[in-house]
């Protein structure tokens, strides 16, 4: 098991290198000069050249990348072109908001997703199953900016019970978390239902029923553990996505998170800031994937046996 974890962690190194190289290429090879964007249309050619030297964008492609990499390996990811702040100051200032939003959205989707999914599977083809299936289909199809705006209109403009924007208090996150979780909840419900149904039909459940185990025990002790495997994968993937910043939700509710930071960095061609924020998110996603894989082992002993080989 430890060996496996170490192997996976080591594999992160080439992944991070690859991501940084691709990002650097995109940022430097696409048209647009950060020095010119900062100085504005009125700047003279000399002024722009000076600014390029200051930013270090006057170097060649390879030299620039190697310089960045050398510094990054030593822990210096540079300063933002625009704010002149060390890039991780900005990333860490924004990250707590994204983390709050992502985790609350995921918690909501896990609670409702798994709960409702099991409920449906147990009552397959009943009226309630059909109605819920219809609703989940609708929810999966709804774009989150639309849900967000509707929530704002109802709760902020009409009822005036929740603030429309900001990230200062816990109640600022109610509407954003709901908005961000809707799609994930619907997905989790559907996956839980179908994987639960599959398990319920399997032989060992029939055996359990035959030996007279209580229905509750069958569902929660025998069936659920096996049915949850794909659901855990989905939750892991969802969390990775969410940490990358739910850009639209952040934008609509004016939450200063990672997503809006990255968008801003792309627009202003702020290469160091973009690279730091994307690498940070990529690293987290990779970690979450690893944790998901480790969780498998606890849920399914067969996989644990695989790991120890």
């Amino acid at each position: 098991m430890h060996k496996y974890i170490i192997k996976r962690l080591l594999m992160l190194i080439p992944v991070m290198l690859g991501i940084s190289f691709i990002l650097y290429s995109i940022m430097t090879l696409t048209p647009g000069d950060p020095a010119q964007l900062i100085l504005g249309p009125g700047a003279t050619e000399e002024a722009i050249e000076l600014k390029r030297q200051e930013l270090g964008t006057d170097k060649g492609f390879w030299e620039g990348y190697v310089d960045w990499l050398t510094n990054a390996v030593q822990g210096d990811f540079g300063t933002s072109y625009r704010s002149k702040e060390p890039v991780f100051n900005e990333v860490f200032a924004r990250f707590p908001n994204t983390l709050k939003l992502a985790s609350s959205a995921i918690i909501l989707s896990v609670i409702f997703g798994i709960g409702i999914g099991i409920f449906q599977a147990v009552r397959q083809y009943s009226m309630s199953d059909n109605i819920i299936s219809g609703i989940t289909l609708v929810l999966t199809s709804m774009p989150d900016f639309w849900i967000g705006l509707i929530l704002i209109i109802v709760f902020a403009v009409w009822l005036k019970v929740l603030p429309a924007s900001g990230a200062n208090h816990w109640y600022n996150f109610i509407m954003p978390a709901l908005t961000a979780s809707v799609g994930y909840t619907a997905g989790t419900i559907r996956l839980t239902r179908s994987s639960m149904l599959e398990v319920i039909r399997s032989d060992y459940i029939r055996t359990a029923r035959a030996k007279g185990a209580a229905e509750k025990t069958i569902i929660f002790k025998h069936a659920l553990k096996n049915a949850l495997l794909p659901v855990v994968t989905l939750i892991g993937i969802n969390l990775g996505w969410q940490l990358g910043g739910t850009i639209i939700v952040e934008q609509i509710f004016a939450i200063p998170g990672i997503g809006t930071l990255m968008i801003g960095a792309v627009r202003s061609k702020d290469t160091p800031l973009l690279m730091a924020s994307v690498l940070f998110v990529a690293f987290l996603s990779a970690l979450i994937n690893l944790i998901t894989d480790i969780l498998y082992a606890y849920i399914d002993p067969r996989i644990k046996a695989e790991y120890s080989k």
Partner: protein
């Protein structure tokens, strides 16, 4: 039973499709709005709402026309929020730094916050850009040949750290500003500043330049503390994140990406301010920002999308103050390109343009027809100038005369933001009427700037701002041949014309207002004859305030001095 379900479901699905269709436009709206403000640095309020059909388009236009008229009625809000102590000001873009000179001089996102913390020697009047009011300078005087300005500096002014502002600080600030790359365009005529005596500072110019004092209203020329700036440099403190000046409000806290908190400076040289606390909130989504104002979460909003304007105007709790912006949108015809070096072809393009139609179709009616490169409120604006009128038949005749009876194809570039791309598409259609096929490329902003600066285009649709209210600021850089065939966004049409050079040079040097006005009128006519630039429209600069705030005035320079505002009714 199952069939019923299927039918029910399909109804739900199709209604969803409809909803998502509507929603799609609104997201586009918000992201476009942001792009615009980031790159241009000013919040040009133009219309983004897509109209779905011809009929609806007309309705929107009527709404917009009414909106324009109504906006004009409220110029100064009247406060009704007695007893409140904190004003929340929402801006759609967070400034990147609060260091004077740390950003381009045209960056209005910086300006909105910086004007509260810093003070300049003079400021623009809130109602008339061309009128200057004393700020840190009590008076100023030009020498005989107009190459030096001596400022009498206000005494007893304190910085936020409690230290006294000295004439040395003033001279240091000016020299610092002159040397900064971000001010290269504005400070071009300035040589250096020197201390004369304990109360006077002289600004020496490279050549006589009448509007020089107007330039000093820009917060990039704000007065900073020499000791503090040097301390920041020595200790590696990021000045842009810990700003310190002499303004009515002093810096308290900057929460990255969310807000900037300021509090009234108790030793401010202007006396006591009415509102003790000031918070800037940054809400990138323009619709959310407008809702924050409507729901009472904020008091002041800079950067309103005009899709939200009609609703805000109808709201009795909100005052919308919009004034005509001083920058304008225009076509540039690159005279060094093969086809457009022919004046007949340029004239043909000009004859196809119907400005009102561009405003109606590309800006939902919210805009002003702009026939010449000098806008109202700017010195040199030729009020009665009309310019060439639309005439497609004549355009066709000119094309035939130039040897292209079957029409031509030209390359046309514009930034992808809908502030540009929608009007550009209308222009494209108008040109088609005379057989001119303009191949429109909508470009990412950075790429567009690069192509424009390198003159790598035939025709472009772009925007130019006016940093201070004098025609010279715009026309000199657009028309003078010294900038032709160089790089940068100056003389992009590559005009090399002795007459144009003479006019802009004489108008720059002259101190006689009447003579200058005559020269600028001549220049507008010359441009119209040659069709180098085809100015199209100006849009609005809007600030929206809760009815609880008094004293707010819309202005085209984006100077909003919160120290003038009050919660008390007048």
């Amino acid at each position: 039973m199952k069939r019923k379900w299927a039918i029910g479901l399909s109804i739900v699905m199709s209604s969803l499709l409809l909803f998502s269709g509507c929603g799609g436009n609104s997201t586009e709206t918000s992201t476009e709005g942001t792009t615009e403000t980031t790159t241009e640095g000013t919040t040009e309020t133009t219309t983004e709402g897509e109209t779905t059909s011809e009929g609806e388009g007309e309705v929107t236009n009527i709404v917009m026309q009414n909106a324009l008229e109504k906006m004009g009625q409220v110029t100064v809000a009247n406060g009704e929020g007695a007893g409140r102590d904190t004003l929340t000001f929402v801006s759609v873009i967070e400034p990147t730094t609060l260091e004077p000179g740390g950003v381009a001089s045209s960056d209005a996102n910086f300006r909105v916050v910086a004007t509260q913390i810093y003070e300049t020697l003079v400021r623009e009047s809130q109602t008339d850009r061309t009128v200057l009011e004393p700020m840190l300078a009590e008076s100023w005087e030009f020498n005989e040949d107009g190459t030096q300005v001596t400022f009498q500096i206000k005494q007893g002014v304190k910085f936020h750290d409690g230290s006294d502002m000295t004439v040395e600080d003033v001279a240091y600030s000016l020299n610092r500003a002159i040397g900064l790359a971000t001010n290269a365009d504005l400070a071009e005529m300035m040589d250096s500043a020197e201390v004369v005596d304990d109360t006077h500072v002289v600004l020496k110019l490279k050549y006589a330049y009448g509007p020089v004092v107007n330039i000093l209203t820009n917060p990039n020329f704000a007065i900073v503390s020499q000791a503090y700036v040097e301390k920041c440099e020595a200790e590696g403190i990021n000045f842009g994140r810990t700003p310190m000046g002499t303004g009515a409000y002093q810096f308290v806290e900057w929460v990255n990406g969310a807000n900037i908190t300021l509090k009234a400076f108790d030793q401010w040289n202007g006396g006591e301010v009415n509102i003790p606390n000031l918070i800037f909130n940054f809400i990138t989504d323009t619709t959310t920002a407008a809702i924050a104002l409507e729901s009472g979460d904020c008091d002041l909003l800079y950067g309103t999308d005009s899709a939200d304007l009609p609703r805000l105007i109808e709201n009795p709790d909100v005052n919308v103050m919009g004034v005509q912006s001083s920058g304008f949108y225009f076509l540039t015809l690159n005279t060094q390109s093969e086809l457009l070096s022919d004046v007949n072809i340029r004239k043909a393009i000009q004859l196809c343009i119907d400005r009102q139609e561009v405003i109606d179709g590309g800006q939902d009616g919210l805009g002003w027809v702009t026939p010449c490169p000098i806008t109202p409120g700017i010195f040199g604006y030729p009020e009665d100038f009309v310019g060439t009128q639309t005439n497609v038949e004549e355009a066709k005749a000119l094309l035939a005369e130039a040897g292209y009876p079957d029409g031509i194809t030209i390359q046309f570039i514009t930034p992808e933001s809908s502030y540009y791309s929608r009007p550009a598409q209308v222009v494209q259609e108008q040109l088609r009427r005379a057989g001119i096929n303009a191949e429109l490329t909508m470009m990412e902003r950075g790429a567009f700037d690069t192509d424009l600066s390198n003159r790598n285009f035939e025709m472009s649709y772009s925007w130019i701002g006016c940093s201070y209210p004098d025609a010279d600021n715009i026309v000199y850089r657009l028309f003078h041949s010294q900038y032709a065939n160089s790089t940068g966004q100056t003389n992009m049409a590559n005009i090399v014309n002795e007459e144009a050079d003479r006019l802009v040079e004489e108008a720059r040097k002259s101190t006689d207002s009447a003579e200058r006005e005559a020269l600028y009128l001549e220049l507008c006519e010359l441009n119209d004859e040659n069709a180098w630039y085809i100015p199209i429209l100006t849009s609005t600069n809007t600030v929206t305030a809760s009815a609880q705030v008094g004293g707010v005035a819309g202005n085209s320079g984006s100077f909003y001095y919160v120290s003038d505002y009050t919660f008390e009714a007048e």
